[in-house]
Symmetry: C2
Subunit: 234 residues, 2 copies
């Protein structure tokens, strides 16, 4: 084997040959289904039939089955033996609980960040993104930057398990947000403006203020009419 060929392998020049994605089918399928669920393309209560999905995606039932199992772990799907599988219905109670748990998680993160005096300057990045998105009326972009802000906040607390739990919870938050009736009355600028004070309080080491702000923040977001979400109570 000559050196030139070796160099090609280690440093492709012209046509950059990216590694082809080699994720298991079950993961690809799970990702697709998850995406469909948290964007409300598959609404709560929708029954999932393995054979139908398998045929639709042109694969066998096995990976579909495993994908559904993954979503079950995510808490997005439930299985009733010999009965069927369906997107887990949402109750008002679950929405409430999701938000209160989220609040607990974020308060925990805040406390840890302050205890360890972590550098939170990176939080300004999503803050700026939110401000810009709000200025452009880009609702989608604002939502994304908001998620990035909060995920970053959790990550800064340097607690793997917390981040993991938060991620799982945030799946449902995404779902709920996609489900709830769009209210253009939402003031994007106000949402964006809520975040910088949190970063400031963190940089000042003001635990009390930071906790209060994050609590108010999640509480405010919770007060979307839950009734609009629960039209499919089977």
């Amino acid at each position: 084997m000559s050196m030139t060929q070796a160099s090609v392998l280690t440093a492709p020049t012209a046509a950059d040959l990216e590694p082809i994605e080699q994720t298991p089918l079950r993961v690809q399928i799970a990702d697709r289904l998850r995406r469909a669920i948290i964007t409300a393309k598959l609404r709560p209560g929708t029954v999932l039939v393995e054979t139908a999905l398998a045929e639709q995606m042109n694969v066998s039932r096995a990976p579909v089955r495993e994908a559904i199992a993954i979503l079950e772990n995510d808490g997005l799907v439930e299985t009733l033996a010999y009965k069927g599988k369906r997107v887990k219905p949402l109750t008002v109670r679950e929405v409430e609980e999701t938000w209160s748990l989220r609040q607990t998680f974020e308060v925990m993160a805040i406390r840890r960040i302050l205890e360890r005096r972590a550098d939170v300057a990176s939080l300004w990045i999503p803050c700026r993104a939110m401000r810009d998105a709000a200025a452009l009326g880009d609702r989608e972009g604002l939502i994304l930057a908001d998620e990035q802000f909060h995920r970053m906040l959790i990550a800064l607390s340097d607690h793997h398990l917390l981040l993991q739990s938060w991620n799982a919870l945030y799946l449902r938050i995404n779902q709920i947000m996609a489900l709830r009736n769009r209210r253009d009355s939402d003031d994007l600028a106000e949402i964006a403006g809520n975040h910088p004070p949190i970063v400031e309080a963190l940089q000042l080491g003001d635990t009390r203020t930071a906790v209060r702000l994050i609590s108010d923040h999640t509480r405010a977001l919770r007060d979307f009419d839950p009734a609009s979400i629960v039209e499919w109570l089977g």
Copy 2:
């Protein structure tokens, strides 16, 4: 069909015919494996081979596979594509994080219980059980009653999602406790004695004291030498 036969069906007399258990194989297998893991019969790092397990339990690979997927959801097992599956190794960090998250959960439960003025009298039951077990030197019984106490505490907060998260977390706590070196130096009576003050504080509506006690409690339990747990770091 005569009436006598019908009556037999509705009201079995002598040989009480209980409903036969009809849980899917995957669940039975998952339960067994989970039990083996949280009792440290299967130690962290142990590789799980589907074919071997299937043969050993005299079933096909499919339900074994699904059972392992369930345990993966529980966070007890990890899968590396085309590499293998193994009981998730434990790091000191994970042990620390498990306990800190537990503390957060229990503090949240305490706060909710006090906010809603829930009746916590039922907590005296496991308290008594712990006292009795301690008196008899029954370490096993004390551990069980302790778990019952804490699960009951979470349940009293009336928060499904929290209870669910706590249950998942407690799996790992069981595993860790089974793994750590038994120290007979533990004062059973002291452990049992730690709990009644919590109930008293709750009944008095003393939030500050209750939170402090539960925090001390979980903190104390965390201080088992983590080094003894991490002898299998692959």
